[in-house]
């Protein structure tokens, strides 16, 4: 190879690659609108994006997996946490996490109420961008997925451990509704496991569901219960479809009479699915 040929190789390969890249860029612009739901970029969303930048969020967190690795990815956070929860969290993260326990805590950002609500709108826009289904498995903020209970339970095989495989055979209709309910518990969106554990004492964003049935019995018979449930099953159903009917005490679970548990399961789940969930949860004695 002569010097001249080497130069032609350098120039030609650069030009060809650049040309292809530019054509694909143009084509991407054609598709950005649809992939990102650009029509949903309202002024609130844009202001929320500015809040994200102004408070330097990206230098602790990631969004679409880009940013820093000191704090959890927030791409799908609005699918795991309800708006009420996120608002309360943004006002004072120290109500929710203990620095001594996790060794990290998000410093309070002193956002205005307007900024908080814009930010959540922005994050919700992010959560709905079509990004090839990433993350392949939900990224949780807290909680130990493989609980010792699962490991100790030898009747279950490894695929049943949450998060181990999406492609496990789902439990079928013919199965016990309780088994189906347990499957739903981990797989519906937002997954119950994003906030609840079934370990005694392991409260996460929501209270632990260990001993739920026993507690439910005590709650519905207590004097300050204002809800409509008359039995354990009824109470659990009510907690799913109308989370604010009874508020578990604690400022990390509710504010101003509204539970932080996501609203909308009554619409996203079928009646049968709710029955199955209730059947499963009622086994947690």
């Amino acid at each position: 190879m002569t010097n001249r040929q080497a130069r032609i190789f350098a120039v030609a390969s650069t030009l060809i690659a650049a040309l292809i890249f530019l054509v694909l860029t143009l084509d991407s612009h054609r598709q950005f609108g649809e992939l990102t739901n650009a029509e949903n970029i309202t002024p609130e969303v844009t202001r929320g994006k500015d809040v994200w930048h102004k408070y330097n969020c990206i230098n602790c967190h990631t969004l679409f997996g880009e940013g820093a690795y000191y704090a959890p990815d927030l791409t799908k956070i609005t699918q795991h946490r309800g708006e009420a929860y996120l608002k309360a969290y943004m006002r004072d993260p120290s109500q929710f996490y203990d620095e001594q326990k996790h060794r990290r805590l998000m410093p309070t950002q002193d956002l205005s109420e307007q900024e908080i609500s814009d930010l959540i709108k922005f994050l919700d826009w992010v959560a709905n961008v079509d990004n090839q289904g990433w993350p392949p498995r939900p990224i949780m903020v807290t909680g130990a997925a493989v609980s010792s209970a699962f490991v100790a339970d030898t009747t279950r095989d490894i695929e049943d451990i949450p998060g181990v495989a999406d492609d496990t055979t789902p439990v079928t209709e013919a199965d016990d509704p309780r088994a189906k309910g347990e499957y739903l518990y981990r797989t519906i969106s937002p997954a119950c496991t994003a906030c609840h554990s079934t370990h005694p004492g392991a409260d996460m964003a929501g209270p632990t569901l260990a001993g739920l049935a026993t507690r439910a019995q005590a709650i519905i018979t207590s004097a300050d219960y204002q809800g409509e449930a008359e039995d354990v099953e009824g109470y659990i159903r009510e907690s799913i479809v109308a989370p604010s009917a009874y508020l578990v005490p604690g400022s990390m679970y509710s504010a101003g009479g509204t539970s932080f548990m996501p609203q909308g399961y009554d619409e996203s789940l079928t009646q049968e699915q709710i029955d199955q969930l209730v059947a499963y949860l009622a086994t947690l004695k």
């Binding site: 080497a6 950005f32 330097n56 996790h102 079509d130």
Partner: protein
């Protein structure tokens, strides 16, 4: 030093040294916060230390590039710089920009866009500095009438770096689109045009240090540039996974970025064989350590560790974890920090009084401590990252709980980071130990290559 005006390089290098030292202070602070709890949570939280850490990196490396260019161009074109005064004005403006940006970050004055956090006024000053710089270099070459291939590659690399900064000046309504163009700057810098800069410095150093034949070296330089761009331009797509752009970027990213290591392997072979074939005899063997070290460490950090997570099927699990930090450190250090340090070590005996060409024991300690420290840091990030991917991404353990399980790797990171920082401290001390020289020296007025062949 053959030309008096080359002494401006000294001050560029001096600024780079100070900022390099500061960068590590903020790196170690950030790493300590991984361990927590953080007593500085409300004074100097992680986001601030981290943004300062990465911005200082970019500023000092660019300062180093500029200094090294001001050193190299007179040598290549055999003339004094067009304007020494302009070079100093540029340095002052640039340093003020860098320092005030860092101070601003302490108060959260920045745009919060990863690696491009500089506020708009600062970005404009960056552009002005680049223009002064390119003008000064361009005029120098024009005046001399001697324009070598090595210079040409360097110059095109520098001009393109300035051009590719342009998308960073624009405002994007759509976050996904802003990510798309952020990589035109960041990726096309580090895996495109900065590689031309690195290649040019490498060629310059190898021709001088090993006495390799210029004709041959420059031919291979073209080949390397060709390889860089065939793979690197379309390789941008490895940052277009999972961010809301069309699906076809996935296979394109996987295929073309997997070719990127070829150029890096080319550079390592280039450096190694030049050294072997010509039987080096230049007295400055410390500079040769840095030169060859840079090519090899870049192949490891950028080529090998980049390849490790560049396929979509792998990246799906590792994206946004400490695995990225593993690769970012090894790649940036090997390719860009080390090549700047190589240029400094090569130029320093001529830029200062009383320093021996061979390099001191201290200089070798600085080299080996840094290389082994950075290797250890890379392993620490790698083991922490693997733990994170497995626990958090695959098993579905919560982020905070998974981080608690990998604390031991953070201890290792701090230990190896301290070793690395010690190496840097020695380097900086060695740099400032001798007083700068401002006159062209007699003995250096020779023609290249300044080597005697070893038989």
């Amino acid at each position: 030093m053959r030309y008096k005006s080359q002494s401006v390089a000294y001050w560029y290098f001096a600024v780079a040294m100070v900022l390099f030292g500061l960068q590590l202070v903020f790196g170690l602070l950030s790493a300590a916060k991984y361990l927590g709890p953080d007593p500085l949570l409300y004074i100097l939280p992680f986001d601030v230390t981290k943004v300062i850490h990465t911005n200082l990196l970019i500023v000092w490396v660019l300062t180093g590039f500029m200094g090294a260019t001001y050193w190299m161009i007179p040598d290549e074109s055999r003339t004094e710089l067009h304007s020494v005064k302009l070079a100093y004005i540029q340095l002052i403006l640039w340093t003020l920009m860098g320092v005030s940006a860092i101070i601003g970050y302490l108060f959260r004055y920045g745009t919060g866009n990863k690696l491009l956090e500089q506020p708009l006024p600062h970005k404009i000053v960056i552009v002005i500095c680049m223009l002064i710089f390119l003008y000064n270099i361009g005029m120098t070459i024009k005046k001399s009438g001697r324009f070598t291939t090595t210079e040409g590659v360097l110059l095109i690399g520098l001009v393109s770096s300035a051009v590719l900064f342009f998308p960073a000046l624009l405002y994007y309504e759509n976050y996904t689109v802003s990510i798309f163009y952020r990589w035109w700057t960041i990726h096309l810098w580090v895996e495109g045009v900065w590689m031309m800069i690195m290649g040019a410095f490498l060629a310059y150093l190898l021709i001088r240090l090993s006495g390799a034949d210029r004709e041959v070296m420059e031919k291979w330089l073209y080949v390397i540039v060709g390889l860089v761009f065939i793979a690197g331009i379309l390789g941008t797509a490895h940052h277009y996974y999972w961010v809301g752009v069309p699906q076809y970027w996935l296979p394109i990213g996987g295929f073309f970025s997997a070719l990127e290591p070829a150029a890096l392997a080319g550079m390592a072979i280039y450096a190694y064989s030049a050294m072997r074939r010509s039987g080096l005899a230049h007295p400055n063997s410390l500079a040769l350590h840095w030169t060859v070290g840079s090519a090899i460490f870049a192949l490891f950090g950028a080529g090998l560790l980049g390849l490790a997570h560049t396929f979509p099927a792998v990246n799906k699990w590792t994206h946004g974890t400490l695995i990225t930090a593993m690769h970012g450190h090894a790649a940036f250090y090997g390719a860009y920090a080390m090549i700047v340090l190589a240029m400094i070590v090569y130029a320093l005996p001529k830029l200062t009084h009383g320093r021996s060409e061979e390099g001191s024991t201290l200089g070798y300690w600085a080299f080996w401590l840094q290389v082994s420290g950075m290797f250890g840091m890379t392993l620490s990030f790698a083991t922490a990252g693997l733990g994170q991917v497995y626990l958090e991404r695959i098993m579905g353990m919560g982020y905070l709980d998974a981080q608690l399980k990998i604390q031991v790797h953070f201890l290792m990171l701090i230990a190896t980071g301290s070793l690395f920082a010690l190496g840097v401290a020695l380097f900086i001390y060695d740099f400032f130990r001798y007083r700068p020289r401002f006159e062209a020296s007699e003995e250096a007025i020779e023609t290249e290559p300044t080597v005697t062949r070893k038989r």
